[in-house]
């Protein structure tokens, strides 16, 4: 098993931390993992992205042109990464603030209304965990218990009282993810 994933959106949406939790979970489950952020000026200017690879075998390139799964959380990211999903792959997006729907016919497209849901839950900061919950529902790459462990490892101890809220957000994400094609 090998999954090549890109997560892209605005800085501040929790794109890098979502990738980190995923990578941690993979590591704890005994997989090979790489987490490669775009650390250049684009990170400072607004859009952030991270490539996460989880594999049972040694990982060669940490930098990729094409992905099994693309999670796009703003329009520039959709424009950049929709064409780079492998045929037969998966695109996950949040329609909030998007000016167009994804158009590919040869990939499976899922919608997660995470921004809306996070506001409704009065827990805007768990936005990325709603997305992650959705991802793990349709692509169970890692087990939930390892995700919770990974979360615990990547959250500083002073934030550990937020673990339950994050778990709830993931459950909500799993509920609301919706296939649109």
């Amino acid at each position: 098993m090998k999954k090549e994933i890109i997560i892209a959106g605005f800085g501040g949406q929790g794109v890098l931390s979502m990738g980190k939790i995923l990578a941690y979970a993979g590591l704890l489950q005994g997989k090979e993992v790489t987490w490669m952020p775009a650390y250049g000026p684009e990170q400072r200017g607004g859009t952030a992205n991270v490539t996460v690879i989880l594999s049972d075998d040694r990982i060669s390139s940490p930098i990729l042109q094409q992905f099994d799964i693309a999670i796009v959380l703003n329009q520039p990211s959709m424009d950049k990464f929709e064409p780079r999903v492998k045929p037969g792959g998966v695109l996950i997006y949040d329609p909030n603030g998007m000016t167009r729907e994804p158009a590919r016919k040869d990939i499976t497209i899922y919608k997660v209304t995470a921004t809306e849901t996070a506001i409704a839950m009065n827990a805007q900061k768990t936005f990325n965990m709603i997305i992650l919950g959705g991802l793990l529902k349709i692509a169970p790459i890692v087990d939930m218990e390892y995700v919770m462990l990974g979360l615990k490892k990547s959250l500083p101890e002073r934030h550990h009282h937020l673990l339950a809220a994050n778990e709830l957000a993931m459950q909500q994400g799993a509920k609301i993810i919706e296939k649109i094609n």
């Binding site: 990578a23 490669m36 650390y39 250049g40 390139s61 930098i63």
Partner: protein
Amino acid sequence: MEDFKLMKGNEAIAHAAVRCGADGYFGYPITPQSEVMETLMELKPWETTGMVVLQAESEVAAINMVYGGAGCGKKVMTSSSSPGMSLKQEGISYIASAELPCLIVNVMRGGPGLGTIQPSQADYFQAVKGGGHGDYRLIVLAPSTVQEMADFVGLGFDLAFKYQNPAMILADGIVGQMMEKVVLPPFKPRRTEEEVRQECPWGTTGKLPNRKRNIITSLALEAEVMENINLKLQAKYREIEKNEVRFEAHQCEDADYVLVAFGSIARICEKAMEMAREEGYKVGVLRPITLFPFPTNPIKELSQKVKGFLTVEMSAGQMVEDVRLTVNGTVPVEFYGRMGGIVPSAEEILAALKEKLIK
């Protein structure tokens, strides 16, 4: 299960430095390697092992602090990225001339000039051919994984002390910024003053009544003396070439074409190799781990049986000159590279291989 950590290459360097018993780190921040000093500051090793971590007022100051520490036989290091490394060159030349051990880390970014902060490999010439003045060599290690970032700290120090020569970890923004799983080296205590005196009888550790003063200098005004120093250095470099070559070969046994690349680009080449093999082309990857000493023999041996080499670098073509010197015209040695912080993709590399060699 082994104790795996998930961390960036830069963070791994910091952890490994403390764990291998380093005495001091002197640096000045610059992207993409600032996490080295940041992590050291968080680890606060001065409270545990007694290791000194100091943000100097400039790169020039930092390398001269390394010069001073190394002269006392201490295990000292610095890190920077390309523009900062240019500033350190005078100090590095002095340290090499004075035959002092130290570890220098360069996490390369796009140049020339202040350039960009994205990954590059365009400091190969600077690192491998002697970036400062005079005939000297560094022992240059090129990591391609976070694990190697951690491992090469201890290895770099060991080689530096074995040969009384500065060692360099030549990484790039990818290995510096990427997180992977890593097993950190076991804790090793810092050497005691007595151990330092024994291991480094040349060090300025305080004159004892039973020996002459130790003088650390790179100045020898008499040409004959300076030539002898040079001859001694050259003999040492030949010894290093004989003993310390390290490389990794992937699927080179049956290969018709071999990609030669170092650091993170070697991994992208591996991906290109996987894609090429799926299309039925017999492609291998040779990754020099030591850039000095360069793995001439394995490349020479391969040149007897392959149809050609493609050297891939994030530069205008620097290591390719050493590959060409080694192959010496037996088979074609082509080059593909991107510059200024652009990372070539596996698809591009495969296309270049087909265009330039397979045809």
